[in-house]
């Protein structure tokens, strides 16, 4: 393998890594927004119907493969005349699926906060919303952090799927450069190391964050 080829491979993978990070961050932000909103509504709303609607959303998205959902979003919406760019479809698709996962994480976190906490908050005269915001939310968030870390690591890995809808991330670029150079094992091996580094960094970031939040 000569130097010029090596440079091209490194360039392709690094520019892919930037897109991978963009998609990961975008999808993570969207997933957190959807998940936290739904979990808050689920915690505060008393109506059966709201809980049911949220449940339908969560069950539907958690029991369908990410790739199938991405295809549905990217090709399906295009047929309806709504043509998303591959990056938008990637972030929206992974974010919506992530929203369902994050909802379950937060719900479990809020439920793990001892019941006495919300009772005590009500007893000292906090309104339900204030009790949720000041008492349940901060404690639930801390409990949710370890599984959120696992989700974030999984998300970075799942961004590899958006190569299938032509978003130019690591695997998409790797495939292109393999077609040009035929250095199959080298390129995919390097891609594996790149993902390993990314997932390690994300995992460690969450561990550090957890430590800072410890009592």
């Amino acid at each position: 393998m000569n130097n010029a080829m090596m440079n091209r491979i490194v360039d392709a993978l690094l520019s892919g890594a930037i897109v991978t990070i963009e998609v990961s961050l975008g999808a993570l932000a969207l997933a957190m927004a959807i998940g936290l909103t739904l979990a808050t509504i689920d915690n505060l709303a008393r109506a059966r119907a709201t809980a049911f609607v949220i449940r339908v959303y969560v069950e539907a998205l958690r029991n369908v493969p990410s790739l199938t959902f991405l295809f549905l979003l990217y090709f399906g919406l295009a047929a309806l005349g709504l043509r998303l760019s591959s990056l938008t479809a990637a972030i929206a698709g992974l974010g919506m699926i992530g929203g369902a996962v994050v909802f379950d994480i937060f719900r479990a976190g809020f439920q793990s906060v001892p019941k006495g906490q919300s009772e005590a908050a009500a007893a000292i005269g906090l309104k339900p919303l204030a009790a949720f915001r000041l008492v349940i939310l901060p404690q639930g968030l801390r409990l949710a952090l370890p599984p959120l870390g696992n989700y974030a690591v999984g998300l970075v890995k799942d961004t590899s799927l958006v190569a299938a809808i032509a978003a130019p991330e690591v695997m998409f670029n790797a495939r292109q450069i393999v077609n040009e150079t035929f250095a199959t094992a080298w390129v995919y091996g390097a891609a594996a190391l790149l993902y390993l580094a990314l997932t390690f960094i994300v995992g460690q970031a969450f561990v550090l964050f957890e430590r800072r939040l410890e009592y």
């Binding site: 090709f75 690591v153 993902y195």
Partner: protein
Amino acid sequence: MQFLETILANLADWAPRLSEALVTSLALTCAGFSLALVFGLSIEYFRNRSAASIRLIANVYVAVARGVPILVILYLIYFGLPASGIVVSAFAAGTIGLALVYGAYLSEVFRAGLGVIPRGQREAALAAGLTPAQTFRLVMLPQAIRHMLAPLLVNLISLLKDSSICALIAVPELTLTSRAIMSESFLPLHVFALTACLYFAMAWPASLAVRLVERRLARGPTRWRQPDAEANLLVQSI
């Protein structure tokens, strides 16, 4: 309504191909999961018993398999191996790739499940003259299985969903077939909605079963409770 009518009108054409693809998806899932069970148990075995170097290799393997996307591993097997002279069929590559990754996940399930059982059980069995293999089969496994049932099912569901990734190495399973149908019929929304429903029909009952098992276990007599270990386990496999 028109949406459903279009699907129904095309069903005669799509149904045979989709059902064939469905069988491929299920075969891929079953083969991958069976192999993953074997891998997972072996990894857990090596992590516990042998020399430090082997233990290190097993731990590194698990860390790598959990940190790299399945797609990369599938590409390495399907496109990378032929470069070194080993040609595998797409289905075999998919099965092996899924099993390699899920073997690592399942080894964690086995570790946590077996970890729930008090040390004294194993020691007593060995002291009573059972061989290590008998101890595992007759004493450890029957007690651990109830703790592992829910996380094993969760992993089976994930594996079913991840079998769709094998579409990208041209295994003719559900997602790839629906893509092929899409490019002939130009009805992407209809085809993928139908496919999503098919996956849902398989995965959702299993998800409900997980919740049922969890509720049963929460109620049943648990003599040695290690809620932390089990909770972590479920969370990991989410």
